[in-house]
Point group: D2
Chain length 341, copies 4
C-alpha cells in the first residue's frame, strides 16, 4: 500500500527521536522552564530576526488557534477568517466555544485579499448598527492555506498594512509553515512573517515533530499572562521538554527547512507525473498538497493500492482527491505511484 494521505502519517524525524533518547533521563523543570525550551526559543528568535519575541510551545493546531485567539480578543470581538479557513470549519467550533465568532469572508483558493479585508472593515464601521454586531478584532490567515496556496510577500504586506491601519492584529496559522517557506517559488521568508504578522505559529506536528507548535509574538507583544491562558486552555505541558527538545532540534542547522524541502520536491515530482499523464488539477499550488480531479471508477481502483484523501464530490462522476507529501515521503514511493496512475 502506498500512502499519500496526509503529512502526519509517520512519527518524528529521526534526529528528534535521537535527541529525546539522549536527554531522556536528565532531570528538568516542568512547564517549559527547561533549558531545551530556552534554547529552542533562542534559535527561533534568531531565525525570525525577532530577538524580542515571546515564544510559547503548544501541542496542536486547534489548541493553538483557540488559545491565541481567545487570549487576544475582547468579548465583543470576533476573528475575520476565510470561510474555508481551518478555524471556520474544521475545529469543531473551538473558537465559538471560547465565546468568539468567526467572521467568515470569501476567499480565493483559500487566500484572503487585503482588499476583501478592507471592504469588510469599511462596511462594518460604515454600518449604523455596527455596535449591535461583532467587532472584527483580528485577522486570521493560514500560510500555506488549507488549499496549499501561498501568499506573496506583497500580499502579506498589504494585509499587514490594512490590519495596522485598523489597529487589529494579523495572525498566521503556520501549521504547514515549513512547506510554504521551502517552496522555490515563494518570496516570503520567516523574517518576513515575523515582520508582517503580530502573532503566528510555526507548525511542528505536520513538519517532522511528534507534536508541538511554536507560537511567536515577534515584538514582545504577548498578551499579559499568556502563560496562564495557555494553562487555562489545557495547553501547558507538564513535560514541556517534549516540545522544547523537538523545536531545538528542528531549529538546529536549518533542519526545519531542510526536511520541508523534501515534501516540496516529492510533491513537485508527483505533480509533474500527473501533468504528463493529463490529470486535471482542481487548483494549482506550489506546496505539499496536490488536489486532483479523478473519475470515480478510477478513484475506486486507485484506492485499492494507494491511501489518499477524499476532498469533495465534484459532480456525479468525478471527485476531488488530495495527495499529500511530507518531510517523510520517499521519492521511490512517488515512482511507485507513477506506475499506478
Amino acid at each position: 500500500m502506498l500512502y499519500f494521505e496526509n503529512d502526519y502519517s509517520e512519527g518524528a524525524h529521526e534526529k528528534i527521536l535521537k535527541r529525546l533518547y539522549e536527554t531522556n533521563m536528565e532531570k528538568l523543570p516542568g512547564y517549559g522552564m527547561d533549558r531545551y525550551s530556552a534554547s529552542a526559543k533562542e534559535k527561533i528568535r534568531k531565525s525570525c530576526g525577532a530577538l524580542e519575541a515571546d515564544i510559547y510551545f503548544l501541542t496542536g493546531g486547534t489548541q493553538t488557534n483557540k488559545t491565541v485567539i481567545a487570549g487576544i480578543l475582547r468579548p465583543y470581538e470576533g476573528v475575520v477568517a476565510a470561510v474555508t479557513g481551518h478555524v471556520s470549519v474544521h475545529e469543531a467550533g473551538a473558537i465559538e466555544n471560547s465565546g468568539h465568532k468567526v467572521l467568515g469572508i470569501l476567499e480565493e483558493q483559500g487566500k484572503l485579499s487585503a482588499s476583501a479585508v478592507r471592504t469588510y472593515l469599511e462596511t462594518f464601521y460604515g454600518d449604523e448598527n455596527h455596535e449591535h454586531m461583532v467587532f472584527p478584532g483580528m485577522v486570521y490567515i493560514s500560510h500555506p492555506t488549507e488549499y496549499g496556496t501561498l501568499y506573496t510577500k506583497r500580499e502579506l504586506e498589504e494585509l499587514s498594512a490594512v490590519c495596522r491601519e485598523y489597529g487589529i492584529p494579523l495572525y498566521m496559522d503556520g501549521a504547514r509553515l515549513g512547506y510554504g517557506l521551502a517552496c522555490p517559488e515563494t518570496d516570503v521568508t520567516l523574517r518576513d512573517v515575523a515582520a508582517l504578522c503580530d502573532v503566528f505559529y510555526i507548525g511542528g506536528t505536520k513538519v517532522g515533530a511528534l507534536s508541538g507548535e511554536a507560537v511567536v509574538f515577534p515584538r514582545n507583544n504577548a498578551p499579559a499572562h499568556f502563560l496562564t491562558m495557555v494553562k487555562q486552555n489545557g495547553a501547558l505541558s507538564a513535560k514541556g521538554r517534549l516540545n522544547g527538545i523537538q523545536f531545538d532540534v528542528l531549529f538546529t542547522d536549518g533542519l526545519y527547512l531542510e526536511i520541508s524541502r523534501n515534501a516540496i520536491e516529492t510533491a513537485e515530482a508527483l505533480r509533474e507525473i500527473l501533468r504528463e499523464k493529463g490529470y486535471r488539477f482542481y487548483l494549482e499550488n506550489p506546496t505539499n498538497q496536490i488536489f486532483v480531479v479523478l473519475e470515480n471508477e478510477q478513484m475506486e481502483r486507485l484506492r485499492k493500492e494507494v491511501v489518499f484523501s477524499f476532498w469533495e464530490k465534484l459532480d456525479e462522476s468525478h471527485t476531488v482527491v488530495r495527495f499529500a507529501t511530507s518531510w517523510a515521503t520517499r521519492m521511490e514511493d512517488v515512482k511507485a505511484l507513477e506506475k499506478l496512475l
Copy 2:
C-alpha cells in the same frame, strides 16, 4: 544536585522510547484511529475489567479535566470538588472558563467524604432557592489526592452510592493513579475504580509517559460525540499514535504498575529515613509525595543540594515542603539524600 521536585522531571520510560523508535516510520492514520491506540484501549479495557469501556487519549491533566467536565455537565450544573482539588485551585480557572462552577466543599487531607457530599446534596435540594443556584451535576475526586492520600475501597463505595442515589456521575482524576494502585496499603484495584466511578482517567504524564492521559467511561457511557468535544477543546492529537503507543507499552505485561511500584518503594525508603531522623510530617500518606515540615534555615541549606517543592509557609520559622519520588527515582539518590538530611 539531587532532584525530588516532582514526578515529571524525566522523559519517558525507556520501553516507551524504544517502541516509539521501532514504530516511527510506520504510516498510520491520525486522530487516534491507529492500531496502537486500538491495542492500548483493548489492554486497558481488560485491566479494568470493563470490556465495554469507551476510551479516549488526551494529553494533560487540566485539558482532560476540562474536556470531561464540560462534556458531561449541562449549563446549569457545576462540579462538586474538594476546595483543595486540582480543578479548584491549580488549573487557572479552566473549568470556569468552560462555563461551569467548581462547587468547593471541605475535605480531610484532600479527600471528600461521602457524608460531606451527601450533606451538600441534601442541603442544596432542601434549599427553597436552589433553582437560583448552581446544581451539583457531578462529583470530582482525585486518587491519589493532591496530598498523596488514598481512598479506601469502602470510601469509594460510599461515594459511588451517594452519586448513584442522586443520579450524578463520579469522576476520578487519576493523574497519579498508578502510584495509588501500587501502594501495598491500598485495597483499591483498577477494577474497583472502573466499577465504582462513572468516568476516570489513568495518568500517563506523571507515570512514565512523555505525555498522555487515558479517559475511561467504563460502561460504554461516554457522552454523545465526545470525540468532537475533545477536538473542540484542542485535545485531539493529529498524531494520536504518540499517546496510543505509550499506553500500549504501559499496559503491556503490567508495566504501568511495575514502574509505579518504584515510586512507592523509594518514597517508603525516604519516609523511613525521615522518620528515623525525627522529621515532622505535615501529613501522613502512603504514596509518592512526602510532605515534611522544615525549619527555614535548614530548608535553605538543603536547597543548595536538593531540588524539592515549596508547599506552604507553616509559621514564621517553618515551611512545609514536598519531596516527590517517581517511576524514575533511583534508590541511590534516596541514599544520597539521607546523607544530607
Copy 3:
C-alpha cells in the same frame, strides 16, 4: 416630524398601562410565580392549542434567543440559521458568547427553505470529517423574517418535517409574530406554529408591550431546569409581574392580534400609496416593514420631515430604506406621509 422608524417607538398599549396601574400595589410573589403570569400562561396555552406547553417570560429578543439556544444545545452543536438572521448578524455575537456557532446558510428574502436545510444536513453527515465540525443541533427561523416575509404553512410543515427526520428542534423567533399572524395573506395560525415548532417565542416588545417575550415549549418539552438557565442568563425578572400582566392583557379578548392588525392595515395603506406613486420596492412582503429604494437626494429631503431607517446602500445614487408601522401607527400619519412622498 413623522415617525416610521421602527415598531418600538412608543410605550405600551393603553390597556397594558391601565392594568399595571390597577394591579400596582398588589403584593405578589417574584420571579414569575404570581397569579398574572399564571393567567397569561394559561391564555397563551389556549391560544396555541397547546395545553401542556411550558411557558417562560423573558425580556428581550437577543436575551431570549441566547437563553433558548444555549439552553438546548450540547457543546458540540450549533444552530442553523439564515445568514441574514437576527442571531447571525445583529445580536453582537450573543450566541457565540454562549459557546455555540451560528451555522449560516443562504436564504431567499430572509427565509430558509426546507430543501436548503436538508442539503445542509445531508452534506454535513455525508462529510467524512464531520466529527471535526460543528454539529447542526437546531434550526432557527424568524417569522416574520428580518425582511418582513412570511413562511406559508406548507413551508413550515416541510421545515418541521426535515427537523423531525434529523431529530433536531425547530425554533421560531417571533419577535414580530403578531404582525405575521395578522396578515390577511397568511395561512399560518398560532396553533400551526405551536404544532410545527419545538420552541418559539411570542414577541411583546415590538407588539404593544413595554418589554417581554413569551417562550413556548408547546409539548411540555422545555429542557430540564430551564428556569435556572433563564436566571443564569440574567433573564429572570424579580418583578415577573411586569411581563405576566402585560401578556395577560395581550392575550385577553384577542388584543394581541387586534393591535397587530393595525400595523398591517397602515402598512398596506402606505404600500398602496408607494405603489401608486411608482416607488420601487426592494422586496415584496405582506407585513409591517416596507423596504423601498430611494434616490439619494430624495432620501435626504424626506429625512427632514420623516424618521425612517437606513437599510443599505444599493448603488452610488440609490439607497434602500425601511418604513415600519406598528400597533401604534395612526392612519393620519400615513396620510401625512403621502403628501411628502
Copy 4:
C-alpha cells in the same frame, strides 16, 4: 395576609407609573438613545458628583453583575467576593457561565474587610504557582450586603485603597443601594460611592421601579464598547425609555432617597417591636432586612398570617427568617404584624 417577604412585592412608585403614562405615546428612539435616558443620566451624574460618568441602564441584578464583570475581566482573571455574596451563591452560576471564577473569601456578616482582601492578594502573588491559578481581577462587594449590613466610609476607603494599590477595580452591587444611603447611621453618601468605587450600580428593581439598574463608571472609565457587551449579554432594551423614564423620575427631587427612607423607618419600627418582645436577632443591621430567630412552631403559626422568607435552619427547633420592608411598606402593616408577634 401581611407581606414582609421581600422588597419587590409591589409594582412601581406611583410617580413612575404616572410618568410612563404621560410619555407613553411619544415617539422615541430605541436602545437608550431617548431624551429621558439622557436626562436620567445627567441627574445621576449630578447626584454622584461625577460629571464625567458613563452610565448604562440594565434590567436586573444578575444581568448587571454578569455584564459588568465579564465586560471588565480578562480571561485569566476572576472576581474576589464574599462567599455569601450574591454572585457567589444566588445567580445560578452566571459569572462562571461567562467564563470567570468567583474567588470566594470569608466575610463578616456579609462584609469583606480590606485586610482580608489584602491578605488574599498578598497570598496570591506570594504563591510560587500563582501563574497556574486564577488572577484576582476585581473586587465585588454589595452595599447593603445580602445580610443588610453596611460598610462605613472608612471601610470603603480602605477597600478602595487596597484595590488601587493592586490596580484592580472595586465594584459595588447596589441592588439595595437606596436603603443603605437612607440609613441615619451611615456616613456613606452616593458621592462617596462614586469616589471610592470604580464601577457600581444603583438598584431600581428593589427600590421603587418596575425594573432597572443604573450602572455607573464614575470616571468615564467604562470598558471600550461596553454597549456592545450589554447587547451581547441580552441586556440592551429596545425600549430603553422604560429604564430611562423610571430613573429620571427616581432622581428627580430626591425621590430615590425619599422612598428608601420609608423602608428604613418601617424596618426600624419593626425592629423596635421585636426587641421589646424579646426576639432574638440573628444579626444586627440598620437597613430594610431583619433576620430573626424563630422557634419552629411559632414560625409555622405566624406563617398562616404573614408572608416572610425562610433564611436558614439554625438548629433542630429554630429557624432564621427574614422580614423585609420596602419603599411600599405601610406603617399600619407593621402595627398589624406587632399584634401577631
